[in-house]
Every structure is written in structure tokens, then in C-alpha cells.
């Protein structure tokens, strides 16, 4: 905590600088981290005239820092190698680096760039990875994220998520925008703009479509929209309310919540709106469905026991089984990619926090220490959870590592961000 306090002002000024070049993208604040971080020296790549800003090492370094598992070593005040032959491992070992990244950017004809980089094991004095890219300026950020993914995976053994995307809803005044951005909140693109609320976005398994709920028809309607051409269709617009879309792993069907026959109940529906079948029954609320990764189970929120709790039911139907037992308000389940963990929102003493449930043991623990958390969504590599919370009266997005030790905040001045979803 002390460390957080000391870091905050420095980070703040760093963000201020970043925000000028980021064009109304989100700012990032990282707090805490794992106890045993891997020390990595990101040696600034040799630059080429006219290369985009910020630098590749800056973007990739920010990615790695945000993971909470990697700490960047101070690279100032020493010779900065570009080629393998220039590396003096002893110097970098004495700076505490366990691994280092070197590279260079070269201008190519036609405005393109060649990027070469190597990841080196400083202790073993070997190369762990080395790649070169021929890129357009538009691919600058994507290339930096790919470099971060490679470094992260080689050093931790887990796939990186720096090339993935997130969706979220931002509210500015009375305007709502559904946006898709890089996982670091940068490069945001608006895919829906409305004067009416939009909630519950969810990426299709291939990341090419978004399902969401829009109130533009004076009631909640489920839409599915292509991210490639912006076309969309009403997937569920039945009498009553239509909400809470969740993609089946095959990307062809969705679970949705309809009220056309009864109270809010879970149904299965094809993406084109055909083939509606009812999954749950009874007069109580069943909502917020989410598929297990193998598609066999659906986890959901229900008040059938008197208070909102988490349940699961076979996606083929059957009797639901309660799986949350402590507390009187447990909602909004999201499942880890390996199907073993549920993150959800639990209320305890009036605070709504991101909780983690181990499905095998039934053990739960809090991941956050905030009070107004909503809409958790697992990272594609299962290492973190994205969620919405409220800070200083404003909606912001946060990520938290599964050990609860690394927190990052994504926020934009004057904008209320909510309803995040993490995509592939």
C-alpha cells in the first residue's frame, strides 16, 4: 500500500504526457504486483526517422508492467546494445536483469518499417526468441503488443493477452457509445453510438461479432453486430424484455434472457434469431447466463432461493444446481478459460466486489477491495479479470490478477466507462 502511495504521483504525470498523444483513449494506472516479478531490461530499440510514437519498447514495456508479473529494469546510464554481438551480459546481470530485449527499427521504402527484436536470457546468456516484422505505420501498436506477448509467454509460460481487445460502454453526458479497444484501452473505436443505453456486450468466440443489448427501441433488445462491416441484426426482439446475451463456444447459438412467456428466463437462440428453445422454468428470475468453455454447462444468476445466487444447469436442460452459498447477493458470473474458476460480484456489508470461486473446492475469496464493482470478464489467458467500478463518482474499468495483487485502472477524463467485456 505504501508503495502505491509513493508511485501514484509519478504515474499520474506519466499518464498526463501519454494522454496527449493517445487521442481520448484511456489512461492506465498500475498498482501492486506479484511478490516475485521477473526483472526484464527493455533496451530502447534503435530508432528510424519518422517512426510512430510512442516507441515500441514503451508500449510493450507498459503491457508487461500491467501484467504484474514482470518488472522493468532501469536501462539508463549504460551502453545500449542493438545487435547480439554488442551485448555485455555482465553489465545487465549487475543491473538485476534476468532477461533483456534488444532491437531496432529500420525505415523501408514506401513508408514501411522493419522491426527486429531479440529476447535474451541474461543468466544463461542465450537467445529465447528473435523475430523480424515488415510493418506499415498502422501496425505499430499491434507489433508492440505482439512483442510483449512473445516476451510474456517465453518468460511466464502463459500466453499473453496484449494483442486481445476489450469492449465497453462509455457514457458522456447523455450519449452512449459501445467501443472496442486494444486490451490496454488504447486505439478505441466506436461501433455503436446511441442516445439510449447499451449494456451487456460480449464478443463472439472468434472475436468478429459483438452481441449486446440496446434500448433504442424503448425496450431492451438483443443485437448481434459484425465488427468487420458494422452490419447488425436483431437476434432477440420478442414481446417484453430481451437481454443478457452469452455466446455458445461454437459461435452459432446464444443464451439470452427473455420475458415473453414468464418472468426473466433463459433461452437458447440461433444468431439469426431462429430456433428459440427455453432452458429454465419457474416464476423466479433467471439471468446472466454464461457457457462453460466446453459448452456443456450454463452458469447463471437466479433468485429462486429467495436471494440472487449463482446456479448451473446443463445446456441441454435439467434441474439447476446452486453453487454459491455465502452471502445474500452473488451475481454476474464469468468463467475462466479452463472452466475451473468463476469470477462474480458478491455483496458483503454493502460493498459489491469481484469474487473468485474455485468450482472444485467451493472456496471463495475477494479479488478487489472496492465497493461498486460490476460486470467481471475473464482475460482470454485466465490470468486476470476485467471489471467496472466507480472511482471518485465516475465509472472506470479495472483489471485484477487472479492473486488479487496487481490492479490496473483504465479511465478517460470526463467519461463514464462501464460494462466491459474481454474478447479474443
Amino acid at each position: 500500500m505504501m508503495r502505491t502511495l509513493l508511485l501514484s504521483p509519478l504515474l499520474f504525470f506519466a499518464f498526463l504526457g501519454a494522454s496527449f498523444s493517445a487521442y481520448a483513449a484511456m489512461e492506465i494506472q498500475v498498482i501492486g504486483g506479484a511478490a516475485n516479478k521477473i526483472d526484464v531490461a527493455m533496451v530502447p530499440f534503435q530508432t528510424a526517422a519518422g517512426q510512430p510514437m510512442p516507441s515500441l519498447t514503451q508500449i510493450a514495456g507498459d503491457d508487461l508492467t500491467r501484467s504484474g508479473q514482470i518488472k522493468l529494469v532501469d536501462v539508463s546510464g549504460t551502453q545500449q546494445p542493438v545487435e547480439l554481438a554488442q551485448v555485455n551480459y555482465g553489465i545487465w546481470r549487475s543491473k538485476g536483469a534476468e532477461a533483456m530485449v534488444i532491437g531496432q527499427v529500420t525505415a523501408l521504402p514506401g513508408g514501411r518499417f522493419e522491426v527486429r527484436f531479440r529476447l535474451l536470457d541474461v543468466v544463461k546468456q542465450t537467445q529465447l526468441a528473435g523475430y523480424s516484422y515488415n510493418i506499415s505505420p498502422e501496425q505499430w501498436r499491434a507489433t508492440a503488443h505482439q512483442i510483449a506477448d512473445i516476451v510474456y509467454e517465453k518468460l511466464t509460460g502463459t500466453a499473453g493477452i496484449f494483442s486481445t481487445r476489450i469492449a465497453y460502454v462509455q457514457k458522456q453526458g447523455k450519449r452512449f457509445e459501445l467501443r472496442v479497444a486494444d486490451a490496454d484501452g488504447q486505439n478505441p473505436k466506436t461501433v455503436v453510438r446511441s442516445n439510449e443505453p447499451v449494456i451487456s456486450p460480449m464478443f463472439s468466440p472468434d472475436g468478429n461479432q459483438l452481441a449486446y443489448v440496446s434500448f433504442e427501441d424503448k425496450k431492451p433488445v438483443v443485437y448481434v453486430q459484425s465488427l468487420q462491416d458494422g452490419s447488425r441484426r436483431k437476434t432477440a426482439a420478442f414481446k417484453g424484455s430481451n437481454s443478457a446475451p452469452a455466446w455458445a463456444p461454437d459461435g452459432k447459438r446464444l443464451a439470452v434472457v427473455l420475458t415473453r412467456d414468464d418472468a426473466s428466463q433463459i433461452y437458447m437462440i440461433n444468431v439469426d434469431g431462429s430456433g428459440v428453445t427455453r432452458l429454465t422454468r419457474g416464476g423466479s428470475i433467471d439471468t446472466e447466463p454464461v457457457f462453460s468453455p466446453d459448452g456443456q454447462m450454463i452458469y447463471f444468476t437466479s433468485d429462486r432461493g429467495g436471494s440472487p445466487q449463482l446456479y448451473r444447469v446443463a445446456s441441454s436442460g435439467g434441474e439447476p444446481k446452486r453453487i454459491s452459498f455465502s452471502g445474500t447477493y452473488n451475481v454476474s458470473p464469468t468463467i475462466s478459460p479452463d472452466g475451473k474458476l468463476l469470477a462474480y460480484i458478491g455483496r458483503d456489508e454493502g460493498r459489491f466486489r469481484v469474487m473468485l470461486l474455485d468450482l472444485a473446492s467451493g472456496q471463495t475469496r475477494a479479488l478487489t477491495d472496492t465497493a461498486r464493482d460490476e460486470s467481471p470478464s475473464f482475460a482470454p489467458n485466465g490470468q486476470a479479470v476485467l471489471y467496472a467500478t466507480v472511482q471518485a463518482g465516475r465509472g472506470v474499468l479495472g483489471t485484477v490478477s487472479l492473486d488479487g495483487k496487481t490492479h490496473a485502472r483504465l479511465s478517460e477524463s470526463g467519461v463514464d466507462a462501464r460494462e466491459p467485456a474481454w474478447g479474443p
Binding site: 502511495l5 501514484s8 473505436k189 453510438r193 425496450k219 459484425s226 434472457v257 426473466s264 460486470s375
Partner: protein, 193 residues
């Protein structure tokens, strides 16, 4: 220290916050009181609002609120009639229509029975604590409660639709008991208003 940091951020963003409210016509009515007949027309009158989608960022579209003030002589708007009451309020965690709304709902039922082509939308709402989707379901429960009460009074299901706005369109914002109570509500809105 964090508080200090955030206050600095807030100060810097104050200008941006102050300019975001805009002057465009919108559907949200934050001034409505418990017996505000104008509320329903505000809600229904927002059909001019627009939504646009794009693969990449597109330009904004303006909304034009329809004017709902031209219903002179409409019995539904007669201040002397219980029909001018359009909101049914619920107690915390309760979904039972209280007795005090009996006269109001009987008047609406009478109108709907006498005008079989009239359509009514029952719009349920919830306060903003907790999950948006769960609150949508809670608002739906409040809308269904009013729908069922009207059905008992003989109104045809064909004439009614119960929908929910959840916590998305609060009449009163803020983290106060007063705001929570104001938003635990179903509005009776006619399709032609």
C-alpha cells in the same frame, strides 16, 4: 494520498465534465414527481432518438424528442382523473402492487376496456445498486406486477407489454434512499402518446 491524486484528476477533468451534458433533446426526465403525468409523454416521446452503428467510428446523430404536450382533452391527461397518475411505486425488495394504486389502475383498465385498440407499455425500473442485468430483471418483475394487476381487471394481454429499463433510465440519480425509492417504479405509458 490517493484521494489527493484523484482530486487533482477531478480538477483537471472538471471542464470536460461540465461540457458533456449538452443541449440536445433526450428521453431522460429527471424532474418528474410521483404524480407527474408529463413523465409518460417524455418517455414515450423519445422515439425520435437514434442509434447508429459502424465498423469504425461514425458521426453522431441527433435526437429529436416528439412533443407530447398536445393532448388537450385527452381523458388520460385529465388532472382530475386518477388516470393522470402514471407511476406505481414499490417498497424495497417488494413486487406487490399496493392498494393505494387500485383507483389509478382501475381507471386505466376502464380506458383500455373501452378502447380496444389502445396499447399500453408498462415500463419497470430499478435502483442502480448491483448488477445491471439483475436490475433489469427486477424492473421486469415490477412491470409484470402491474401487467398482472391490469389483467385481473380484465385488460387483454394483447393490449399490454411489460418491459424493463432496469437501472438504465433513472428518474432520480444519486445514492440516496430517496433516489432508490423514486426508481423502484413502473410507469404506465400509452403507445400513442
Amino acid at each position: 494520498m490517493n484521494k489527493i491524486l484523484w482530486s487533482v484528476l477531478l480538477t483537471l477533468t472538471l471542464t470536460a465534465c461540465g461540457t458533456t451534458s449538452g443541449t440536445k433533446a433526450t428521453v431522460e426526465d429527471r424532474t418528474g414527481g410521483k404524480a407527474d403525468a408529463g413523465m409518460s409523454s417524455q418517455t414515450a416521446g423519445s422515439s425520435g432518438s437514434s442509434t447508429e452503428t459502424s465498423a469504425l467510428g461514425g458521426k453522431g446523430a441527433d435526437a429529436t424528442a416528439l412533443d407530447g404536450s398536445s393532448y388537450t382533452g385527452d381523458p388520460r391527461k385529465n388532472p382530475a382523473s386518477p388516470m393522470s397518475n402514471r407511476s406505481v411505486y414499490f417498497d424495497f425488495d417488494q413486487f406487490v402492487v399496493k392498494n393505494e394504486y387500485r383507483a389509478m389502475l382501475e381507471a386505466h383498465a376502464g380506458y383500455l376496456l373501452s378502447k380496444r385498440d389502445a396499447r399500453v407499455i408498462l415500463q419497470g425500473n430499478a435502483d442502480d445498486r448491483g448488477s445491471r442485468e439483475y436490475n433489469l430483471a427486477l424492473g421486469q418483475k415490477r412491470a409484470e406486477a402491474v401487467r398482472k394487476a391490469l389483467a385481473v381487471l380484465g385488460v387483454s394481454e394483447v393490449q399490454m407489454e411489460a418491459v424493463s429499463f432496469g437501472e438504465e433510465k433513472p428518474r432520480k440519480e444519486g445514492d440516496t434512499e430517496e433516489a432508490y425509492a423514486e426508481n423502484r417504479r413502473t410507469d404506465v405509458v400509452y403507445a400513442d402518446e
